[in-house]
């Protein structure tokens, strides 16, 4: 959209077919991500929030284009356009061979630091692997960059020869961050990087990531379900519900003045360490999240929405500008006017 955008996600849909019956024909599909569009700017941190199963991780994996490896028959629609040095590259249209060239530009930090590091490789082997693939540095140069990366993420040089099982969760996540930084990428997708860690370690890792973001001038897509973490780190926040993007805008705007009824409910659940705000209204949603195999017609949130009207069942709401840099997918709150 603007010149400063790094990646434009346009009408991205991801659905996983469900096979059944004697002949294993496609009987249904899980629409994990349903027609979402947003933009990540250069050196911007975008937080992506939503409850479990709403498609956050799928968006992240679509952005690094590895969904096809995990589920070969996944159907991906829409466009994911990266702007690298004036080049516009649509990741959804690249073959796996063409894709390999751009792998170094987008990296990922995974949720579970216990599963994301190969238990058979030492820390230095793990960190130098992307360097081996994407650069032709000599052994000595690679060793030097591994050591400098270890220093940047707050590990000691003598950690390089150790195996992942000798580290704590926070240290492992630091190794994961160092690996993601190794190729100096433009975008790092952080898939709930701190939700598997202790609260005290979470703060350290979050601060480390913010420092790194400034130092390396890299964009983050920060996927999380912990809103206070997201508010702390993000420039912009995207809120997802059941595969749809319901609200997107500046972090402060969304955190303090959420417009969409789902965002409001989500934010009212954030504990606030302030006794004066004890009387704050809590919105408790009724019922369960519908299955993405059989989504409600119209607005997917209408079955649980406190503001739902008859008309919500008819049309799928689209993201509309409510204020500058604030988009909301709800026609009802639109009519409500700005509070």
């Amino acid at each position: 959209m603007s010149d400063k955008s790094l990646v434009d996600i346009r009408n991205l849909s991801v659905s996983f077919p469900v096979y059944g019956g004697i002949l294993s024909r496609k009987v249904a599909e899980v629409k994990a991500v349903d027609d979402i569009s947003f933009t990540i700017g250069k050196s911007e941190i975008v937080g992506l929030v939503g409850e479990s199963g709403c498609g956050k991780t799928t968006v992240g994996r679509a952005l690094i284009n590895i969904l096809k490896y995990v589920a070969p028959d996944v159907e991906i629609g829409g466009e994911i356009i990266y702007h690298f040095d004036g080049e516009d590259i649509d990741f959804t249209k690249l073959s796996s061979r063409q894709m390999r060239k751009y792998r170094s530009r987008v990296q990922m930090i995974f949720q579970d630091p216990y599963a994301s590091l190969n238990p058979r490789m030492t820390v230095s082997q793990i960190i130098e692997e992307p360097l081996k693939i994407h650069t032709d540095l000599s052994l000595k140069e690679r060793e030097e960059s591994v050591h400098s990366l270890l220093g940047k993420v707050g590990l000691r040089v003598d950690h390089a020869g150790r195996f992942p099982h000798e580290f704590s969760g926070g240290q492992r996540q630091r190794v994961g961050i160092a690996r993601a930084l190794a190729t100096n990428p433009d975008l790092i997708i952080c898939d709930e990087p701190v939700s598997a860690l202790d609260v005290s370690i979470q703060a350290q890792v979050i601060n480390l990531m913010m420092d790194i973001q400034k130092e390396f001038d890299v964009s983050f897509l920060f996927i999380a379900h912990d809103l206070s973490v997201v508010e702390h780190i993000s420039d912009k926040i995207a809120v997802m519900y059941l595969g749809n993007l319901v609200e997107f805008g500046e972090a402060g705007q969304i955190y303090h003045h959420p417009r969409h009824p789902y965002s409001r409910a989500l934010l009212s659940a954030v504990p606030v360490p302030d006794p004066k705000q004890k009387e704050r209204e809590r919105i408790v949603l009724k019922g369960d999240v519908p299955t993405p195999m059989n989504k409600p017609s119209g607005c997917s949130f209408r079955t649980r929405c406190p503001l739902a009207e008859q008309s919500c069942a008819d049309n799928i709401p689209i993201l509309e500008t409510h204020a500058s840099d604030h988009w909301v997918a709800c026609p009802i709150v639109k009519n409500e006017g700005v509070k």
Binding site: Y69, V70, L117, N118, P130, F163
Partner: protein
């Protein structure tokens, strides 16, 4: 973890830790040392157990019959048809004492020489000359036993390695790529494994003259399937883990992901299955030889020795030797397997101990 004696042992890979653990299990460790030592030595059997001399010094010239092969008896002034009789030659030179000499291997009998060679008798009981006696054609039982040991273990090893190559490649690809590839090979394996393989083997080996490589080929046809099941499951499980996604997202090729990332994490069945695969290989060869569909005679083999022994049960050494050789070999392999299993037992690494 008392097998980790030194402090620096803490920074070692899981596999190395397992090896150290394995070493503490004496039975398996010593079995492994003994077996691999004996197997290593058995490649030098032509220099240890042979009726050809190591060195012959004759009329100022040196001959090395073990390495050079056939040397006619006339070369040494021996009046025999065909090859020189080195044991006789040795006695002769000793008697004449004219500077000629013969250095024989420590056990100067070959597994192939029968009653047509000088001094060999049928059904000779164990003695200082023939440690385990001779069989129905006058061949030395001890020599045959030793040569058969090498053949049996080689057969089982080659068989296992080839099975592993096919099993790991096909099973791994099935698990890793999944989808239609997996489906196709699964059906193929189902059809293939439902063939009555013993009959197929018997039919093939009664048409073609069975040789070592043919038998390996036939058995590979049957046995690669077992490994694919294990590898498919391992790869299927491992590929869902995040470190594979991480490797893919940094642009690693499929082949590297499969064999650099997933395979080292799928080694447990490969290693634990290995001793049993060797046992199965040895038993398979013994079985075929016993039934007469195995290696062509006069090749020394335990199965054939067992067959002959059972036809002459009263000659106890002919039954006792192959049976106890097989028993000891298989027993020590099972000990190794037991040690491997123990070393791979994750309970020892849990924090409860």
């Amino acid at each position: 973890m008392k097998f980790l004696k030194k402090q620096e042992d803490r920074h070692i890979s899981i596999l190395r830790k397992r090896w150290l653990k394995f070493k503490t299990l004496k039975r398996g460790y010593y079995s492994l040392i003994t077996l691999s030592g004996l197997y290593g030595i058995s490649f030098f059997l032509p220099m240890l157990i042979n009726n050809r001399a190591l060195v012959v010094q004759y009329e100022g010239e040196m001959y090395f019959p073990v390495f050079s092969g056939y040397i006619a008896g006339k070369t040494f002034g021996q009046d025999v048809p065909g090859e020189a009789r080195y044991r006789v030659l040795k006695e002769l030179f000793k008697m004449k004492n004219n500077g000629n000499w013969v250095l024989m291997p420590p056990y100067p009998y070959s597994p192939y020489e029968d009653i047509t060679m000088e001094g060999n008798k049928m059904y000779e009981p164990p003695s200082t000359n023939h440690w385990l006696g001779t069989d129905n054609t006058g061949r030395d039982v001890f020599a045959r036993l030793c040569y058969a040991f090498n053949i049996s273990i080689s057969f089982a090893l080659i068989l296992t390695v080839i099975n592993y190559i096919f099993g790991i490649l096909i099973g791994g690809s099935m698990g890793y790529f999944g989808g239609k590839f997996d489906l196709f090979f699964q059906r193929l394996i189902e059809i293939w494994s439902s063939l009555p393989m013993l009959f197929v083997i018997i039919i093939i080996s009664s048409i073609l003259k069975p040789s070592f490589l043919l038998l390996v080929g036939i058995y590979t046809m049957v046995n690669w399937i077992g490994m694919t099941y294990l590898m498919r499951a391992e790869f299927y499980r491992e590929k869902a883990k995040d470190y594979v996604a991480a490797a893919l997202s940094m642009g690693q090729s499929n082949f590297k992901v499969m064999f650099k990332h997933i395979f080292p994490n799928a080694l447990v069945p490969v290693i634990t299955y290995f001793p049993f695969s060797i046992v199965a290989g040895i038993s398979a060869l013994v079985g075929l030889d016993y039934l007469g569909f195995g290696l062509a005679p006069p090749t020394p083999s335990w199965g054939q020795m067992l067959d002959v022994g059972l036809q002459n049960v009263t000659k106890w050494w002919m039954v006792f030797s192959p049976v106890s050789a097989q028993f000891l070999t298989l027993l020590s392999i099972v000990f190794i397997g037991e040690g491997v299993r123990e070393a791979f037992d994750p309970k020892v690494y849990s924090r409860l101990r």
